[in-house]
């Protein structure tokens, strides 16, 4: 009755394309850098063999991958040499996300990520690379049915729920996408990538010729500055483009038991997060965003990162005015109370905060200052600056308890505030080094998710104990 089905053959292409993307750089190195002159073996045979091999592998991977949608479970068989059979009961599926990439769009199919409880972080339990929309809908329905039967009426359906328009909690405007990429530091990332690429090219662009040509081009400092500006503009355009692709049409839908997020320009992604699995909220703001009054909001999510971002967290609002963030969270997660009244750290912690970045910076700076005597001394000016940043960070750090909620805040360049509920806290620790003890200070650390610890350094001893006792 239940037939074994194969994915849409377009998944062969998507597999091959992915393999090629991963192989491009090593292949490029092997082919271009190894042989200076064109040779049959390197320039034609190696890529041909690689192409042949991946196509073959793609074909057999597709051929040997079958799935079966039963009443109770999703049954998958895969593997070319080592057969892997997995059955995933619908009842245990915690989240499902759909995405439509380039190849999926060509064939009019979708990719389905399925995530279950109790598996490794950040790794979707099963991925169906290319199935029809009807089948994705069928899977979603089966999950819903299984959940209803099991007593928990958790609706997990990324498709049928998305037609409603009155439940939109947040959507990102195009203008904000530009602001986001301008302020997120992505520009610098792109700059770094470009310069890394250029330095990679060093090897096979003949230096001398280029140098002679460049001398013509960059005659004076003005041209040099122009070149820098152009480089920056290119980096900026790349960064905006990347953010645009990723965050265009970013829409958050607030449904009864779930949060639905859809986004993407070419590569559409739909994901559904069960509210029950959200363990807390993180609000992040970097220096520039802080000046403009913008923040980004992340949900701490038990289970994989469905959106392909950092482990254990899912972006709820990538870029939003602070006041708006508060109302979005209030609408989606009324149990969280976002506020600004934080219990500051005691005065005696201030000097420790101001000195800590100085120690860290002094280690690399002092030898530099010593060896490059006259001008190197100028580097020492960085130390008061670091100290000032430490002071700012002291002013920002704090904690607060309101009802069942604990909030911790810290950070220097990027301030992070974490809000969590008492029952989401897996463990709490207070610690003190000998120096801290002498000043009656403690470090407070809370674990909510694996590899997600939030801590505030130098909390007053009595206060830290109060928080510790509160968890009990």
């Amino acid at each position: 009755m239940f037939e074994k089905k194969r994915l849409h053959p377009i998944s062969i292409f998507s597999y091959v394309a992915k393999q090629w993307r991963d192989m491009l750089l090593p292949l490029f190195m092997a082919v271009v850098l190894k042989a200076r002159e064109v040779s049959m073996v390197w320039n034609i045979a190696v890529p041909a063999v690689a192409l042949f091999y991946t196509t073959l592998a793609g074909f057999f991977t597709w051929l040997r991958f079958t799935y079966q949608i039963n009443d109770e479970e999703l049954y998958i068989e895969q593997g070319i040499f080592i057969r892997q059979k997995s059955s995933i009961p619908f009842e245990r599926i915690q989240g499902i996300s759909l995405s439509i990439g380039f190849f999926q769009r060509l064939a009019g199919v979708v990719q389905v990520h399925i995530e279950t409880a109790g598996n490794e972080l950040g790794k979707a339990e099963a991925v169906l690379t290319a199935v029809t929309k009807e089948e994705a809908e069928q899977i979603a329905q089966q999950i819903r049915r299984a959940k209803e039967k099991g007593g928990s009426a958790e609706a997990i359906s990324p498709i049928s729920g998305s037609e409603l328009s009155d439940d939109i909690a947040f959507s990102l405007r195009f203008r904000d996408v530009f602001l986001l990429s301008a302020t997120s530091g992505g520009v610098f990332g792109a700059l770094a990538a470009i310069s890394a690429f250029i330095s990679q090219l060093d090897d096979f662009i003949s230096y001398d010729v280029l140098y002679r040509d460049m001398q013509g081009v960059i005659r004076n400092a003005l041209d040099g500055a122009l070149a820098l500006v152009v480089l920056f503009l290119v980096a900026y355009a790349l960064s905006v483009g990347r953010h645009l692709l990723r965050y265009a049409f970013f829409t958050v839908r607030n449904q009864k038991e779930t949060i639905g997020i859809s986004r993407g320009l070419f590569e559409k992604q739909l994901l559904t997060v069960s509210k029950k699995r959200v363990q807390g909220m993180i609000i992040k703001e970097n220096v520039i965003q802080r000046l403009l009054g913008y923040v980004s909001v992340h949900m701490i999510h038990a289970g994989g990162s469905l959106d392909g971002g950092e482990n254990g967290s899912i972006v709820l609002c990538p870029f939003v005015k602070k006041e708006r963030a508060v109302s979005v969270i209030a609408a989606c997660f009324p149990e969280y109370c976002i506020h600004q009244q934080f219990q500051p750290l005691p005065q005696r912690a201030r000097v420790r905060y101001m000195l800590r970045p100085v120690y860290v910076l002094a280690i690399p700076i002092s030898p530099l200052a010593y060896f490059f005597q006259p001008w190197g001394i100028g580097l020492l000016l960085l130390l008061p600056l670091a100290s000032y940043l430490g002071y700012k960070s002291y002013r920002m750090a704090g904690w607060t308890i309101s009802g069942e909620q604990l909030a911790l805040r810290n950070g220097m360049f990027r301030i992070e505030t974490m809000y969590t509920r008492k029952y989401c806290i897996q463990s709490i620790a207070t610690s003190a080094t000998w120096f801290q003890k002498r000043k009656q200070l403690r470090t407070l650390a809370v674990a909510v998710m694996p590899r997600m610890f939030f801590k505030v350094t130098d909390v007053d001893e009595k206060e830290a104990e109060a928080v510790y006792m509160w968890v009990r």
């Binding site: 463990s427 080094t433 997600m452 968890v471």
Partner: protein, 158 residues
């Protein structure tokens, strides 16, 4: 805060001393290689002497003193609603794990611990792993049962 009541087994000190000693053998190799090269290439003799002194201090601290301090600082307590552990020589740390958050408990025993009739108890939550090292064998076993009896299913659990 009041200090916790229960201590780990006194035999832990001996086990830790053996461990530290074994680790030191590897360090000794490193010390000797460096000294040999300094000797061979006519480096300053006082550096070799300094290394030897350093090694002796290292030996004294890590084998004689540190295990003892570590044992003195290790405390734990298991109650119906929560468990706590407290440890650390330089950084003193005290951790509270609500019982409802505990997912499972492990009983662990390596060859050295077995010889000394010791075992460790490892406690897992959804986010963290905590180990109570070197308990008396029987006590560790009892503790495992006590903890798993206290752990109740919480419907808000993830």
């Amino acid at each position: 805060m009041v200090q916790l009541s229960k201590r780990i087994s006194e035999r832990a000190v001996s086990v830790w001393r053996i461990h530290a000693f074994l680790r030191l053998v590897i360090f000794l190799l490193g010390y000797s290689i460096v000294s040999f090269f300094i000797w061979r290439f006519d480096g300053p003799k006082w550096v070799v002497l300094l290394l030897a002194v350093l090694f002796l201090i290292h030996l004294f601290l890590s084998v004689v003193v540190w295990p003892l301090w570590r044992w003195q600082r290790w405390r734990y307590d298991v109650r119906e609603k929560e468990m706590e552990v407290e440890y650390g020589v330089w950084t003193r740390r005290r951790t509270l794990i609500p019982m409802s958050r505990v997912q499972h408990v492990d009983f662990r025993q390596g060859p050295l611990l077995k010889k000394y009739r010791l075992a460790s108890v490892v406690i897992f939550t959804a986010a963290t792993v905590h180990e109570i090292p070197a308990l008396d064998e029987q006590e560790a076993e009892k503790l495992c049962h006590v903890i798993s009896a206290f752990v109740k299913v919480d419907d808000r659990d993830v």
